[in-house]
Each structure stands twice: as structure tokens, then as C-alpha cells.
Amino acid sequence: MIEGTSSRRLFLKQSALGIGGAVLLNLVPEALQAARREANAAAAAGEKFAVFSPDQGADVKAFAAQIFPTDDTPGANEANVVYFIDHVLDKYEPENREEFLNSVKSLNQATSQMFPGTTHFSELTPKQQAEVITKFETFKRKRRADLLGSIFGTDANHFETIRTYVIAGFLSDPQNGGNKDMVGWQLLGYDGMAMHEPPFGFYDAELLKGGDKK
């Protein structure tokens, strides 16, 4: 592992990829189905996690709900984000567990610093949680040139590490257990279809109709 990226790498499998990676890839669809079933079952049964302790699960869930709150549209809770993260750390990224859990620990340290007497982010009121995130927010908007770097081995702080998994859980293919009922994709307006036909959008449709007079 490269020092400095291994500790910051987000959801990328490097060690798993080396020799057995391709084999793993072949196994994935079946394993994924299992993960999805388990995620859904876990969600239905209440908070049973494979990796997270109940406290950790509650903290991640609360953090995810701050990133994607439930407002006029579904949020991280409805998308099953916490179960997605639990299951990918269980099934696909066991070597990243420690890094992720360290990030959760860091989140709780920030919580204790700001609100003495508390030990868990999930204990706070939503307003207090927002204060923690605001204070420690250093989520970086990537330069375009850094986007690939951010995907393939990023420089990220603890908050950004958790946030990246939350985003993946909200917007990944639903077969991974998150983005339940495609609520994440619906927010974006992404249809998830495997094929399309022109016209694709308003402006090319307008052109096809001969309406491009501007």
C-alpha cells in the first residue's frame, strides 16, 4: 500500500484486486444479490449490522442523514445508506473497515470536543449535528484534474471519507443495497436505463423539431 493514499483511499480495493481481483469480479453478481438480500433483510429486521456496532451504525446513519436529510424528498435513511456501507465494508472492502471506523471515531471526537459530556454524534440533536459538520467541514470540491485522483486514491479528511461512502450508498446501483427504490437517482433525475434513443434532452429535441431559431 502506498503510504498516504492507503489511509485515505476511499472505496477502492487495491489488495483485493492484485491477483484475485478478476476472479472476485466474476463472483460479484451472485455475491451482490446476496448482499442486497441481506441489506434488505437487515433493514426489515431493524438495526442489525455485520460490521458496525449498534453505536457505530447509529453514528453513520445520523451523519448520512445530515448529508442527505429527509425533506420534501427521500434522504439517506430511505435509501438504506447505512446498510449499504455496512455491507460493502463486510463483503467487498474488509481491508478498508479500519480506516472507515477510524473516521467514525474522529467524528465522535469532534462531537465530544464541541459538546462536552457527549460521546456519540448520534446523541446530538440534528441542529447540534449540523454544527459539528459546519465546524469541521472541509469537504473539498475537487478540481476537475483531481477528480480522477479523488476516485482512484484520494486525499481526504475523515469527514470526506464518510461522506464519500454516503454518496456511494445514496447513488450506487440499487443492487448493492443502497439507493433503495432508486430514491437517489430520482433526486438527480437519472433514469437508470441501459439504453436510450434520441432526442435525449430539451435542446436536441428542439433542434429535431426545427425549433432551433435562437
Binding site: 502506498i2 484486486l17 492484485g18 460479484v28 469537504f139 476537475r144 482512484f152 437519472y190 439504453m195 435525449f200
Partner: protein
Amino acid sequence: MTPPIQQPKFALKDKVDFVVVGSGAAGGILAKELSSNGFKVVVLEQGPFLTEKDFGHDEYLNFAHGPLVNHGQKQSFRQTEQEVAKPALAALYGKMVGGGSVHFTANCWRFHEIDFIEASKKGVPAGTGMADWPITYADLEPYYTKVDWEVGISGQVGTNPFEPYHSKPYPVPPMPVKSSGVLFERGAKKLGYHPFPAPLAVLSQPHNNRNACMHCGFCEFFGCEMGAKSSTLASTIPVALKTGRCEIRPFSTVTRVETDEHGRATGVAYYDQNKAEHFQSARAVVLAANGAETPRLLLLSATKKFPNGLANSSGMVGKYLMFNSASFLGGLFEHPLNDYKTVAVTRVIHDFYEMDPKHGIYGGGGMDARFDLTPIAFAQAGLPMDAPKWGSAYKAALRQYYANTMYILTHGTSLPLATNNISLDPTLKDDHGLPAMRVTYKDHADDLNLQHFLNDRAMEVLDAAGAQRKWTYPIGEQNFAVHLLGTCRMGNDPKTSVINADHRAHDVPNLFLCDGSSFVTSGRGQPTMTIMALAFRAADRMTALAKRGEI
């Protein structure tokens, strides 16, 4: 992981005619051409042999588990030779049969005449290694046409007033324009520019018994499950395997080119999937391992006879690394573009391919209108720099921007600098215990000026197209690249170049290098088309030399 077509198994001690290292944009074509010309060929590829059934649209799996690229490889990076390089992935490349041609964005236009003769036409900027190529556009044109027809490029000749000569039309028409293309065209035309349909390595209609694109929208960083994207995996590699004279060995990591006491290459040493070491014997060795790994392999192949690395009497191996300069900006529009559908790019301009001297900027560039972010990537990096990053405001921004956003990529020259290079890290080792790749790179100020200029022009295009909001991402020095060019440059003078116009190493008569490393200049971005054309031409030259008994 079984190859899709039966292929021969050559024994290691079988002296095959050519062993080719790498199966990407260059290697996949060399394999087809050399085997079709009657030679026995073994291709060694570091990555897996995937097929269309292995490709899908799952973004999490693709980035988390997709073995398409070399993430996880130990490399180091520094800006200048005075610094100690720090471990970091700086050179990203395709690592699978088909290489980067499998997952690239698919922009596939040709270099122009000027790219080959810019030094003599425009002079050499002080401190740079600008030089003419030993071949001209006219030499390469027939091979560009071979790429169009054999690999499969969609486009329309005659729509770009700045385009170089084409001897033949494209085999299939351009992809249907999408909304970003319509808006870009509207804005660019208002400003007097000349937008044209992007030449793409994606089939708009069936061709060579391959499918047409179904507009799924997963070109960049995904493999095409339709075979519609014109990778070498989909186009030339199946032809190579059908000859019965080509064997592609996946999971084979080459560590050394071996040479004998006469200084001739005898074959290559490599590790298999189980880290067992082998030696493949061959009459000639061809390195097509990409612009970062080809020079590294030469440096790793040093001997007493070649103490500074193989084929490196000039000292040029690894020098003149070029990434292509680039900038990126976005625009928000009133109505949904739904630009996540279909290919990334449908319109391009080359109006600034040669900069007006009044700007005092060398080289030039272009712009393409695109949308190439899948949902997770969009949520991480697609919004303006100042957009909210969490909470209901973040959700609202994602909802507002995703369907209504387009991007412009400006792309251009990187000047060749000896101080930008690939070398061996003195301390960091790779997974096989070999010296890791060290990347040293700092953009030339002129290239950054060029990008500021193009970025300003692109902002004007977004305005003219009616963007409600437009934004740019910072332009800065690059520390990460997917274009790896110029590190074993081609030239007539053995003192200043590594290979000759036949791609033969000046120092080793039966060693050939062909990939991005062969470039003398960077073009203006989007090098894949030219890598492919060079490979067709190099195979012709190798064939002629071999048939005359000169290898």
C-alpha cells in the same frame, strides 16, 4: 477469464517472431497486424482478459472493484528533480486486454499537419525540447484511415474547416447530437467558431459485424458491453486471435527485456498471476506498454553493456513526458439536457488549434462539449466549486444541476521538457520488489497560459449558448494524468532520440517501441487516434524489415 476465442499456446522456449508487451491502443493493433502478416506473436498483458459480458453499469463496483486500471500501483511523484518524490499514483493507465482503449472517453480525431512540423514552422521555445517528427502527417494518413475503418470511427469528413486531409470518409456517420452539442454549437457559432461532430471511437451504425451504440451513457471509465465502443478489445484483438498465430497472455507482468552479448534482445522476463517468473523467447521484442511503463521497462533492463538502461545511449529514455494541458468548466441551462445519456462528447472546435501569434502562446488547443460524470462522480465533483456539500441545500443543488448541466473540456499542447520525465524511484519498490515508477512533472507556464486563454473563450461560449450560470474549475499544475506521451521519442538522430522512424530502437536492432512514448510532440490532446495510427504504420515497417531479413 478464458479468452473469447481459442488461441494457440506457444511454449516459452519457442522463439516466436514477436513478443509484444502490452495489449492496448497500440499493442492490440500490433498483435492483429503482425499475426495477420504471418508472424507468430505472443502478447503479454499485465491485466485480465475481460470480455463484454464482464462489463456493466454498476458505478460502485466499477470504481471499487473494476480491474480496468492500475490503481493501487506503487508510484511516486514530484514536480521537480530537486525534490524527493512522495508516494502517489500519478500515471493512470488501462490494465486489461485492450488497455486504455476500453475505458477512454472515445474522442478520436487525428493530429493535424502542424503537429509533426511545429518546431521548424514556429521555432523552438527556449528551454523546451520541441522538435519535428521524423514522419509527417502525409506518412501517417493512410494509417489514420486504417484506424477509421478497421477499428471503427464515426464522424463526418468536411465538417471541420481546420481538419487535415482525409483520403476516405469515415465508415459510419457521427453519433446523434445531444443537448450539450446543440448548445455548444449555438454558442460557438455566435462567436464565429466552427463546431463539428466529434470523431468518436463509437459505432453509430453496425460495422465490421459489430453492434451500434445504444446510448447507455457509460463510456468513460467503463467497458462497453455492446462492443460498440471501438477499443482494440472489440475490434482488432478478435481478428488477431482468429489468425491462429497470436496468443494473448493476461496477468503477465514484464520486468525486463533480456539482451545477449551482441546487444540484441532475446526475449522478455515476466511474472505470471502466481508471481512465478518466466522467460518468453522471441526474435524481436516490441514494447507497447504505454508512455510510462515502456521507458520504465527500458530503465529496468539495464546491463553492463547498457548501464543507463536499454536503448538509452541518448539519455532520452523517460524524458519529455507530456500530459496534455487541460481545463474544465460547467454551465447550467434552463431546460433539462439529460446529457448523462449517450456518448460523452458530440461537438468539438479546433478554431484555436494553431494560436494566433498575437497572443504570444505557443501550440494551441481545442474544446469539446461533454457530460461524462456518472451519478456518484457527479455528486462528488460535478457541482460548481461553491455549491453546498451537504444537507437539503446539497440535495437541492444535485436536483437542480444534474439534468441541466453540461461541461466544456479545453485541451491543448504540453511542451516537451527534459525535466518532465519517468525515472526509477531510488527507494520505493513495486509489488515485485522492483524500483517503482517515479513521475516528475511541472506544467510549462506557456501551457498554463494557453489553458487560461481557452478557458476564457469557453466561458464566452457558455454565455453565448445562454447558460444561466457558468463556472470553471481551477487551472493548475497537474500531478495526475491519463495521457502519457513522449518518453521514448522518435527521431533520425540517435543522439537525441530513442527510436527511429521505423519505431526501431537506435541501439538495439530487434527492439521496437510503439505507444504514447513514441510521440515527439503532444498534439493538442486526445492522443489515442494517433497511437493507433502509429501502431498500424509500425507494424507495416516491422513487417517490411522482417521480410527483408533486416531484423
